[in-house]
Symmetry: C2
Subunit: 345 residues, 2 copies
DNA sequence: ATGAAAGCGCTAACAG
DNA sequence: CTGTTAGCGCTTTCAT
């Protein structure tokens, strides 16, 4: 083992004939240390190959400069963009990210929360798993005053900030768009209603129907995991409907929409002529499927940025959870061929 | 701040009228501690709400039970699968993962390596960024005897293990497949040749050509970043070739293949009749594009599992980098419609 | 502007 | 099987 021994601030202190205290302060650019002394300290640190011992530091100072992130999955274009946004802001502020994923399982999310707690993150960023029923596993954070920010898949809680888009509005708009294109039997492929994103999208859908005097039909609601399998299942369901097939499908995400389209196309259904389609998220696959999928776009990067900014502000005592309860980001409807019954673009 | 004070092993010790040492050992299930005492310790820990202080522990023991992971990007189906495999094995062995991404930039990779080093990870798992030229930034790890395992995008280094598939062979096979389907002017969309994966795939492609007495044509080689833009560029290039267009394209990844196909289709080129296509990685989009894309499949999950297993074994002194230099995983050719010139499946 | 001393919470000898 | 002792490397009063 070529284990050169670690250089500590004491080594630097000895080397410079000053005290460890001064070195510690100097390294942190403490103002009470002579500028020249500081320079010498940094030079010595570099020369000796010093690296700070975060454990010793954290043990003492009780700050870790680490933020925990729990996402529902990693394998998602949207999530990856969020993480990129988070990392940018965090790094710029001197924080590091510990990323973990729940794989959509509440059980794993709970385990991750435990780990984060034990790693003593300074703050936590969470997008809930598909089937998380309550947030008891974050209670320890609240109790200790460790700030928790929810993003996208949020949970309303008086002690934490949420970063979201107006899912209700976006769903309302996209459903209206389908109706404007002459659709009236619109199927909705939704997700677990425990999750705000899916509950709100369903509400928006229902509201749009109601505002056009279209009666909500229970049979046209398909709640699922919104994955490939779910999309295929939805298609099978549609194919079994016989004459009462929908003339449009609004899916709460792009994946389910795309796999549903795929299956229907194989069965000879024409899109959008027979059935129009709309998704949600503007995933890259929405531009690969033919016809290209109408969807809702919102910036994961901005969301990540907003979430971390809010968290760090809070950590610095600049903002307060009591005043900032939620941050709403912009979203936009992207109309593509899959929903244009009249003309193909 | 509702900052209840932290419970330490001393609190437990006092509570139970035993020494801190015994508590420390008991918590770790040290065999020399009476089974009954252990039970009482755990009960007390739970009762008092104890949580271990990893900093104090790491400071003392010099082990962090943390593995660093540096991937080229997060936003990739393959990478996400790898991470899932890694997490499974790591967690089961009591290790945690710190994940970071270089966003394909060598500069960011270097910064990440620094961070990992300062966080004192017990071991490192790396898939290199697109343009990393050397691995000087991992030198500190080698020097300190911290094991580094490369996976997928590896770098041959005498002190570290690599986990890969036989890229040469896979590319050779897929090119042969195209030739067997009657193609002879096969274009290759490749990546940076600094990366083993792309260099090996190019070699496999060339070897297949040579074995069929087809001369390698420099004009049919397009080196790029293999992203959406690159695919589109490749398509433009093909369209400009006039009569000398290729009759097949083998892309070193699915993304470039798919976006190239998309552009060509818009221009009226028929696939596979005019130009056959093959990609690499079996990304979900390969099954969305029409016609479905022939590609090479290999399990990211298995790769993640293998990499972490190897790393942990090494940490436990079970295996040795000097004996295990590389682990080769299985891959398979998946033939779909995009390459079947004769009949559509 | 700098230093001395006292821990932060845990673990690793070494003793019993 | 259990306890005593002595730090790990750093930060933080409190002095000077």
């Amino acid at each position: 083992m070529p284990d050169e021994k670690e250089i500590t601030i004491y080594d630097i202190a000895k080397h410079l004939n000053i005290s460890a205290t001064t070195v510690s302060r100097g390294l942190k650019n403490h103002p009470t240390i002579n500028k020249n002394t500081r320079k010498r300290i940094f030079a010595a640190a570099k020369e000796l190959g010093y690296r700070s011992n975060m454990f010793a530091s954290s043990l003492r100072s009780k700050k870790t400069y680490t933020l925990g992130v729990i996402v529902h999955r990693l394998n998602s274009y949207f999530v990856a963009t969020v993480l990129a946004g988070m990392e940018d802001v965090a790094n710029r502020a001197g924080y590091n990210l510990i990323i973990s994923h729940s794989l959509e399982s509440a059980e794993k999310e709970i385990a991750n929360a435990h780990t984060m707690f034990n790693k003593r993150v300074d703050g936590l960023l969470v997008s809930l798993a598909y089937d998380t029923e309550n947030i008891a596993h974050f209670e320890p954070f609240f109790k200790k005053g460790i700030p928790v920010v929810f993003f996208d898949r949020i949970y309303d809680h008086k002690e934490s900030t949420s970063v979201v888009i107006d899912n209700f509005r976006a769903a309302y708009d996209i459903t209206n768009h389908l109706i404007d294109n002459g659709c009236s039997r619109i199927m909705h492929i939704g997700g677990n209603l425990l999750r705000n994103v899916y509950a709100d999208r369903l509400r928006g859908y229902k509201q749009a129907l109601q505002d056009h005097k279209i009666k909500f039909d229970e049979k046209l609601l398909f709640i699922s995991k919104l994955n490939e399998e779910a999309g295929t299942e939805a298609a099978k369901l549609i194919l079994k409907m016989g004459g009462k097939q929908p003339d449009a499908v609004f899916s709460a995400n792009d994946a389910a929409a795309v796999y549903c389209m795929k299956k229907l196309k194989e069965a000879g259904i024409r899109i959008p002529e027979d059935i129009a389609f709309a998704g949600f998220n503007n995933d890259p696959i929405s531009k690969i499927i033919e016809p290209n999928l109408t969807t809702v776009n919102y910036s994961g990067y901005d969301m990540g940025e907003a979430a971390v900014t809010s968290l760090i502000n809070h950590l610095n005592g600049i903002s307060n959870v009591k005043t900032t309860n939620s941050i709403i980001l912009r979203s936009e409807l992207i109309i593509r061929e899959s929903s244009s019954k009249n003309k193909s673009l």
